[in-house]
Every structure is written in C-alpha cells, then in structure tokens.
C-alpha cells in the first residue's frame, strides 16, 4: 500500500530554491494530499468513516476529514485551521493562474505540514 507521507517527501524535494513555479505549485499540492490522505487513512482505521468508497458513506472526503478535526474525539482546532491554510495555498497553486506562487508559499505550506505531522505522529502512533 502506498504511504501518502511519500507525497510530503516529494513536496519537500520540490521546495529547494531555484526551481520553477510549476514545481512550487506541485509541491504545495503534494503537501496537502500527503497530509490529507494520511489523515484519511488513520481516521478510517479508527472507524471515523471518512472514505466515500464505503457503502452508505458517500460524500466529499476532504470535508469529512476536516470535520473530524472540528468536533468529536479527534477535535483539534490547530490541526483544523492548518489544514484550512493548506487548502488555501493549494487552491492558489492549483487554480489561480493570475497570482505567482513562490518558494515562500511552499515553505509556509511545509510549516503547516510540520505542525500537523507532529500531532499525527503523537495521536496516531
């Protein structure tokens, strides 16, 4: 099974200085998906039913994952808001062509990732 944390590794590789904007945009996207998929798998493993593949649990997986950090046993405002921050940067990177995505944006995204990673490692280990 693929480990989504490899996406985070790719994101860090694409955060080096002097890379193209396309790579920085990709870096942010991989950072988000690395964290999101990691959270999704861990939550699903703990019967949080965030995957839409299961019968009776259709719906957007992203919003379900975020919802689990807004309330309930996994409530953590810090993680929730940093996930939101990652979504914001990822929307900029994947959708907004009129703005420039910089290495600073990538490093900021990875700082959000660092925080969430620490929580996940503690909570899900």
């Amino acid at each position: 099974m693929f480990d989504p944390r490899e996406f985070i590794n790719v994101s860090r590789e694409l955060s080096a200085s002097g890379l193209t904007e396309a790579k920085y945009r990709t870096s942010i996207s991989r950072a988000l998906y690395g964290i999101f998929l990691w959270a999704r798998e861990e939550l699903e493993r703990r019967d949080q039913h965030v995957k839409s593949t299961a019968e009776g649990y259709r719906g957007d997986e992203h919003s379900k994952v975020r919802q689990r950090f807004k309330s309930g046993p996994f409530k953590h405002g810090g993680v929730d808001q940093r996930l939101g921050s990652l979504y914001r940067l990822r929307e900029k990177g994947d959708y907004e062509l009129d703005t420039t995505v910089t290495r600073g944006d990538v490093l900021q995204a990875l700082e959000y990732v660092d925080y969430i990673e620490k929580y996940f490692e503690k909570k899900f280990s």
Binding site: D60, H62, G84, R88, E91, G104, L107, Q108, E111
Partner: protein
Amino acid sequence: MAVHSQDRAFEELEDMSARQQISWQLIWEFNPFETKIGTATRFQWKERENWFVLEEDVNPEATPLEGQFFKIEAVEPTLYGLPSSPQQGVVVKCYNLSNIAHPTKSTLSSGFTFATYPCPLLHSRTRMFIGQPTHLLSGLEQQIEQFGLLSERWSLIDNWITLYSREETPGAARLVTIRTGLSQLSVPYHVDKGVLPLLNESTLQAAHIVTGILTDEILRGLPVRHVGVEPLIDRDAGQWSEVVFIIQVDLSSTEANREWDNILDRVSEVADKQEDKEVTTSLLEKIGIHFAWITADSV
C-alpha cells in the same frame, strides 16, 4: 388652550405616522463621541456640528458605545411632557448590532429605545428616546449623506442582511469592515469582496468576535503586519466554504504557532460559552483563522 395644543400635536403626529410607513432599517456608524450605554443612563440626541449624536449621563458601569452599530427598526411618533402642553417626539427602536460583550441572539433581538425623560422600563435594556422628530429625521438623513456607503438604496431596504448575499460592491465591503469591527483595527487590513456571499448574521457576529480577540491580542503586543479577510471555497466538490482571516505576523515559526494556537483557544472558549448556537457553528465551521509568517525564504 391646552386642548388645542394637544389636537395640533396629534394632527402632526398623524402626519408623522404616514412617514412611519418607511421602513427605517438603517445601519450607521455613530460619529465618535463620548457616550456610554447602561441601565442607568439617559440618552438624548444632540446636534453637534451638523451631526446628531446620542448623548447621555455618565455611568461608570456603562459600556462604551463609541464604534458600536445600531439598526433602527422603527421611528414612532409620540407625545411627551405635561398633558397641558404636550410636545411631539419620536420613539426610536433599535438593535445594538455590535455588542461584543453579549453577542447572543437574545441580546441582539431585544430592541431597546432611548429616553431623555424617565419612563417605565419595559425590561432592563429598554429606554425610550424622545426628541424632536424633525430634527431626528433630518439627523438620520444627514448621517446617510455623510456616509457614502449608506446611499438611498442602502438605507431603505427590507432586509439589510440579504444585501450582503446579493451585492459585491465596495460599499458592501465597507459595511462588512464596520460590522466585523475591522475598521477599528490598528493595523492594515483588506476585505476581499468575495466574502460577501458567505456572510449572514451569525457569521458576521462570529467574525466580530474574532476581530475583537485579535484586537485584544494586538493591544497585548502581537506583531500583526496585515489582516486579510478572504473567501475559501471548496472548488473541487463545492461542499464547504469559509470566511478566512489571514493574519500576517512578524514572528518566528515557533512563536507564530504558539500565538496562533492561543487565539484559537480563545475563540474556542467564546464558542463554548455562546448561547446562540448558530454563532457557535459559525465560529467553529464558517470562520477560518490562518496565520502566515516570515519563512526562511522571505527573510
């Protein structure tokens, strides 16, 4: 003589009643002035440099009124004074829209009026205001004129909230800065007009709470460089949306994360104590609070 005087006053009042058909659903920003509101205060409108303001007795336990916003619900003609020499006046019923100390729906929906004369209290927050109706009305008009955002189109609307969801105008954005308290921030800020369709009464109240906490933290020394208020919309599936405060701070990563969590804790505390569950939901699910700081690359 007294009877004639009373008749004339009532005739004029009937004329006023016709005007009353106008729905005075207004929001305006009070001109800065030193006044407070409290259970023992008495208010009156006073003309000051072509500006009509509410003034009152000083009550040490009162809450500052400056910078707060009110919605006029109705202006009703009335009489006051001695029966032998009645004077015409108006009762202004209005809601305090920005009472951050009591941001519950019960507070916001309990109309209170102001009085220059002692009158029976309808409830603890009720006062009756009696003043010269012509002055009052002209005062309101002056305020409308003076605030460009309160154009005629703005001032006579049935439901001002719906306007937020329909119009993305600079005036609307300006109004949001007032309602959310952003206009009182001591740091640069920007409101993206894209947030307007996402706002309703509860999200505005929630945003006001966040701004209040942020203002307090800035006063305590949080080095905020800029505050942006932007929409965050799920473009993939369209399942969610948020109004996001993006707070740029001049801090290291460690410090920024600590201050960020501190603000989130404070917001969470307020949310837990909220009586209005819609505001609670807005605080937890509809308002985003994001920090951004100086990264190694941007030093």
